[in-house]
């Protein structure tokens, strides 16, 4: 949200610079209002329509900056969130709204809060944007693994789950675990077991929720 506000402020400054003395004030006000409306609605339109809309030049490079080659070779892309705060990751995603102290809400209404051994659920989920080859068992890895793609993918899985489409749900003690068939490759299976099998593709997303709070989410093979 802070990132969104910065983008709007930057856009207004650019608009004023380009139109000063060339357009009547009324036109500038109308253009500024239209621009603000577009930038404010852009994340929600992208989430609901499933498309990437054009933005400011600096916006489109945000995800690129945060991706780099993972440690497993093979040219796989991953996001390094190890040294970043939840706020930095939320800003990089550009689609999360801060709704409380260290609480971020996705366009679909899922909440990422403090918790987990990573310190924040957003960092925990984003730890699935890169392989951990020595982790025991299987480790699902999102691919591509930039924060915006992952957050919107989790949202899409959630919306598909509550609509009851291609989902298996299990409930226990206030938590629900969804296995959602996304119908396409969303990542691969890493970790010790996954890498022994050559990192097979994953088409399902496992989402564990406590109410609307995200506990964890990662790619799986059913």
């Amino acid at each position: 949200m802070a990132r969104q506000a910065q983008q709007i402020a930057r856009a207004i400054q650019t608009l004023l610079r380009l139109t000063r003395g060339r357009l009547p004030v009324a036109w500038i006000v109308v253009l500024a209002a239209a621009l603000i409306g577009y930038l404010a609605a852009k994340p929600y339109l992208e989430a609901s329509l499933g498309v990437t809309l054009p933005g400011l030049p600096s916006e489109s490079t945000g995800a690129d900056r945060e991706t780099r080659s993972g440690p497993t070779g093979g040219g796989r892309q991953a996001t390094d969130t190890s040294a970043r705060s939840a706020e930095e990751v939320a800003d990089a995603a550009g689609v999360l709204q801060r709704v409380g102290s260290s609480v971020y809400q996705s366009p679909a209404g899922l909440r990422y809060t403090r918790g987990s051994q990573h310190g924040h659920r957003l960092l925990h989920v984003m730890a699935h944007a890169r392989d951990v080859p020595n982790r025991p068992g299987n480790h699902g890895v999102f691919e591509p693994g930039d924060a915006k793609t992952v957050v919107l993918l989790v949202d899409a899985a959630y919306e598909q789950a509550i609509a009851g489409r291609s989902v298996v749900a299990e409930r226990e003690g206030g938590r629900v675990r969804y296995d959602v068939d996304m119908g396409r490759r969303i990542g691969f299976i890493g970790g010790q077991s996954g890498n022994r099998r050559g990192g097979p593709a994953a088409t399902h997303l496992r989402l564990v929720l406590q109410g609307k709070n995200v506990i964890t989410a990662f790619p799986v093979r059913p």
Binding site: Q117, A127, P136, Q210, N213, V220
Partner: protein
């Protein structure tokens, strides 16, 4: 010997999320050892993982015994010596629970003040069940990622 911050002993995998290794976590408050899922933070206080887990909504992940934080700086992955001093774990191993050492998902915080110098756990099983022993239902069941 202490377990290095990113290494843990674990006893199979979590049936709640289906994927996370069940790390042996030593509480910094009461020194009890619990099974803590490395993925979804489900907690068991005994080797019977068919029982319902403790699923806390508190982000500090309170110990079921004393409410100290299981992810706070004084809590850590249990050492082999600490495991050997814990009656329920000794009994569970005698009944076939298999312990392995492996890499934790998230690096641990500062070691507990009373921790011993770093040790060298391996990825090999540290105690293999004898033939005919019952292995507790904590082994990875599926091809799921975690």
């Amino acid at each position: 010997m202490a377990t290095p911050p990113n290494r843990m002993y674990y006893a199979g995998f979590c049936r709640s999320c289906g994927t996370g290794p069940l790390g042996l976590r030593r509480c910094g408050g009461c020194e009890a050892i619990v099974l803590l899922c490395d993925e979804c933070d489900a907690v068991w206080t005994s080797a019977d993982t068919s029982a319902p887990p403790v699923l806390s909504e508190d982000p500090s992940l309170p110990c079921p015994h004393c409410t100290a934080s299981l992810i706070g700086p004084s809590s850590a992955w249990a050492t082999r010596e600490q495991i050997d001093r814990t009656p329920w774990l000794v009994q569970a191993e005698q009944q076939g629970m298999k312990l392995n050492a492996g890499e934790a998902f998230a690096p641990d915080g500062p070691a507990a003040p009373d921790a011993e110098p770093p040790g060298e756990p391996t990825d090999e099983p540290v105690d293999r069940p004898a033939a005919g022993d019952t292995v507790l239902p904590t082994d990875l069941p599926t091809d799921a990622g975690g």
